[in-house]
């Protein structure tokens, strides 16, 4: 009955509310720096920038689609088994994304395979399903998923940029600042590129915590309304 009533309202519209759903997660409601969702994968995939980019796209697709599907089914899911249903929806979509990536870009799939599987346990998917999709209509839930995926992706790219630049001296795999020891071996490379000693700490997990902490600091210094006053 509830679904018949919903069909009367226009299914797809794009007004102020909808735009807010897309832009809020980029700034004042960012999944990583404000809602604290999806931190584990942000630590694991940010050692290289192209890994982070593919992960961000995969998470955006899974979050948007699982939000839409769960929102369509929300009136027929019993409260007691809702988590199992949500996880099975998420797991199905993750499998679809995983197989698609395997067919489209095999080398990146090889590099990411474990983490793509772990999108099932990425808190963003489950967190948005619980907090938004279970109480809202499919189209809005879909937009909410896209917005949160983008907000997650932005932080991922920023963190990966610093970790790859300082840890390996490269951006998207292109060498930007070379290692000093490389210069000593191959003196034909330009000397001004080779003054830096790679910082191996940046490749380890604790450095991701430090970089995200500093990103949060910068974000809150810029957006004063987020400052923790407690």
């Amino acid at each position: 009955m509830a679904e018949i009533l919903e069909k009367k309202a226009p299914a797809i519209e794009f007004g102020k509310e909808e735009r807010k759903l897309l832009t809020d997660p980029l700034n004042s409601n960012n999944p990583i720096t404000v809602q604290i969702l999806g931190v584990c994968s942000a630590l694991a995939v940010t050692t290289l920038m192209n890994k982070a980019l593919v992960m961000a796209i995969a998470v955006t697709v899974v979050t948007a689609m699982s939000n839409a599907v769960t929102s369509m089914l929300r009136n027929s899911i019993p409260k007691q088994v809702r988590m199992i249903v949500q996880l099975i929806i998420a797991a199905t979509l993750v499998t679809i994304v995983e197989l698609t990536l395997k067919a489209v870009n095999y080398p990146i799939y090889k590099e990411l395979s474990v983490f793509i599987g772990l999108i099932i346990t990425n808190c963003i998917v489950m967190g948005r399903l619980e907090a938004y999709a279970m109480a809202n209509r499919p189209w809005r839930s879909f937009l909410d998923g896209i917005g949160n995926g983008l907000g997650y992706g932005i932080i991922l790219i920023v963190v990966a940029f610093f970790r790859e630049l300082l840890g390996k001296g490269s951006v998207f795999g292109f060498l930007v600042i070379g290692n000093t020891s490389d210069y000593l071996i191959n003196t034909t490379s330009s000397p001004w590129l080779s003054w830096y000693a790679n910082n191996n700490l940046m490749v380890l997990f604790p450095s991701a915590m430090f970089v995200i902490g500093i990103v949060i600091w910068a974000h809150r210094a810029w957006n004063k309304s987020l400052v923790d006053i407690s």
Binding site: I84, L87, A91, I120, M209, G213, V227
Partner: protein, 202 residues
């Protein structure tokens, strides 16, 4: 018996799920504002972890493996079956907590259902598979892993309660400081990796 104690100490301290592998960070950072709620969530994680790992051991070796009851290799179903077991267990814990401790239920909020997607739980089950433990070893590993996570979250909650009296720059207060503290605690726990437990037994 010494073997089981070794696994317990190793999983609780040396290979701490939260501070060495950085698993389960979402709830670790969000619920560590006060020691009381951190304690409640830690106990819930110990409970879920020490039930799901033996149950998943059973699923992995009795149902999914080639020598199991079906006689065929079904390991591609591992993810979906493990996560269903975990979801069922967390749903059970949620119902119990809601009934017997409504105040804890309210303070944990969305992070109680999120234990399901706490990477530490699924990660623990997958480590159990990759380390090829037997049943009693996986039970010890489950309790140890949960206990290590519990120790880590109570420790950071205690530090964060003390941090309230420190003069931290305003934008860094709260979450930002929690990230940096976790990074530092992780670096401290990295030094424990050098301990060789086998030499204690001799």
């Amino acid at each position: 018996m010494g073997d089981l104690a070794n696994i317990f100490i190793k999983s609780a301290f040396i290979e701490n799920l939260a501070l060495s592998y950085f698993l389960g960070m979402c709830s670790f950072l969000a619920v560590s504002k006060s020691v009381k709620t951190a304690f409640g969530l830690g106990i819930a994680v110990i409970f879920v972890q020490s039930i799901t790992i033996p149950v998943n051991w059973f699923i992995n070796y009795v149902i999914l493996s080639e020598n199991g009851i079906f006689g065929i290799d079904l390991t591609f179903l591992r993810f979906i079956l493990f996560i269903s077991t975990i979801a069922a267990m967390v749903q059970l814990v949620e119902m119990v907590v809601e009934k017997y401790s409504p105040s804890l239920y309210n303070s944990l909020g969305i992070f109680l259902p999120l234990i399901t997607v706490n990477c530490a739980i699924l990660g623990g089950s997958l480590f159990m598979v990759s380390k090829e433990y037997n049943f009693s070893q996986s039970l010890s590993f489950g309790i140890g892993g949960g206990f290590g996570w519990f120790v880590a979250i109570v420790a950071i909650a205690a530090i964060r309660e003390k941090m309230r009296y420190s003069n931290v720059p305003a934008p860094l207060r709260g979450l930002g400081m929690a990230f940096i503290l976790t990074g530092m605690m992780g670096m401290a726990f990295m030094s424990l990796m050098g301990i060789d437990l086998t030499s204690f037994g001799k």
